[in-house]
Symmetry: C2
Subunit: 100 residues, 2 copies
């Protein structure tokens, strides 16, 4: 079942673009790990908040991806930019009006 | 520029599935209006919260879609199920690790 992970990451003032650059760096390991959609941007409401929308083949695929060396490296690189404020939610996709 | 609209909708106790059914009803007008992704599910953390992840060709496409007769009808049908509690955020997609 497709798993959706939606998150917000608070960043140090003026550091949003730097975090976006890390999170959008091309990473073929993600598709191989079962990532279907991974979109990154800066919140329209809060300029020091980076948003991430992810869809994964399954909850397990998402969980396993967090152990990928490339993902661990990105997390380490991003950590100094973060305020620690995080939000978001997770859900298993029940359906879509775009398909039967 | 791709526009992401991520939202949570508080529902009356036990009404989440009913709202999911309305939001996932097949609607070809959405693709025609520029909807790229529209995934619906129940929050893993809060069983009376329905989550929606939407990607649109542009901010304008999303805004225009709200005037579609089918979307207006769904909003009307859903309204009695809602508590009024809503959350979420919007952003223009800056990039993705899944593509150059």
């Amino acid at each position: 079942m497709t798993f959706a992970n939606v998150g917000t990451l608070g960043v140090q003032p003026g550091k949003a673009e730097e975090l976006v650059a890390i999170l959008t760096r091309r990473n073929p390991e993600m598709e191989q790990a079962g990532c279907l959609v991974y979109e990154v941007g800066v919140s329209q409401e809060e300029p020091d908040t980076v948003c991430v929308v992810e869809l994964w083949e399954s909850t397990e695929a998402h969980r396993a991806s967090l152990q990928l060396p490339s993902v661990q490296a990105a997390i380490g690189e991003a950590r100094p930019l973060l305020t620690g404020e995080m939000g978001g939610y997770r859900f298993e996709v029940a359906g879509s009006p775009l398909r039967d």
